[in-house]
Symmetry: C2
DNA sequence: AGTGAAAACGTGTAAATACACATAAAATCT
DNA sequence: AGATTTTATGTGTATTTACACGTTTTCACT
């Protein structure tokens, strides 16, 4: 491979897994965040809250694995959601552990955000088409499973 | 839709366009960055450098459009790459404009990074399979085109 | 020529991300 | 029991992201 070949550079830009995934994630996140804005949370926070709600009580490290998120990244996200009053933590039997639970306010917020999420999700799926979306989602799941 | 339905929450988590894209982008970025590490740049910087190289000279706003990146985000990225000596800017005819060009050092770095990029790209495509990858990439392009 | 709109860019602030490193508690080994 | 390793988590630092806002320059219209 030679970088001086313009076709080569174009091919790299078009096919790069990292670039294409990041760009799509940026664009979709922007749309989700804009729509979710009036609820007061971001799409990322929505996902975290939903995952916590779905499990009643879960350890930080475990939650990080579930969300495919670096533990320290999630730690900061959780701190923020805690300051916002959406989740709280309780000590488990093990004094190292930090059990994460959703608060009443968190559930109320989720319920307010749900129809907004639905709208954003529908918009994104619509612009690409349900057919293509199925293939895309399948690929994303494969990546998450194996990477 | 009712959040109290556990199946509903599971379905949302599995299908959310934003979450699934962000998670995949995170995981793939981690792998790319780890492999590209010895070259001294991140995958994101690699993409930007490549796009600049491919165009010889390009305006910030134009480049942001090409990369599907918020202009102000790219502005920060470009500042960093400038401090690293990988790109430089020259004034155009219009005194508002800021033409971005890659430096010799930038090209040398790209050439060093290219084989690393290839390895990362191959790894990611392999773990998901060329078949599935084609469908995934096609979906990502659709999103970038329409969003 | 002057005024108002548009274009190009930067900065303040804040969320999201992750690596390197640190700490504390539990588990395991000798 | 004491030492070592593993587990669970937090913090320092730096990159990436984007909205809100501001500045300067150019363009368009009257």
């Amino acid at each position: 491979m030679d970088l001086r070949d313009k076709e080569m550079r174009k091919e790299i830009g078009l096919s790069c897994a990292c670039f294409n995934l990041r760009r799509a994630a940026r664009l979709v996140t922007q749309r989700f965040d804009r729509i979710l804005r009036e609820s007061g949370i971001t799409a990322n926070q929505f996902s975290i809250l939903m995952a916590v709600y779905d499990r009643e009580r879960i350890l930080l490290t475990k939650l990080a694995g579930v969300l495919g998120m670096e533990r320290t990244t999630l730690s900061r996200n959780v701190s923020l959601l805690t300051r916002m009053g959406m989740i709280s933590t309780e000590a488990g039997s093990d004094r190292r552990q930090r059990n994460i639970i959703i608060t009443k306010e968190g559930i109320i917020l989720l319920e307010k955000a749900l129809p907004l999420w639905q709208r954003a999700q529908r918009e994104v799926v619509d612009v690409i088409g349900p057919e293509k979306w199925k293939g895309l989602l399948s690929g994303l799941h494969s990546l998450a499973k194996t990477l």
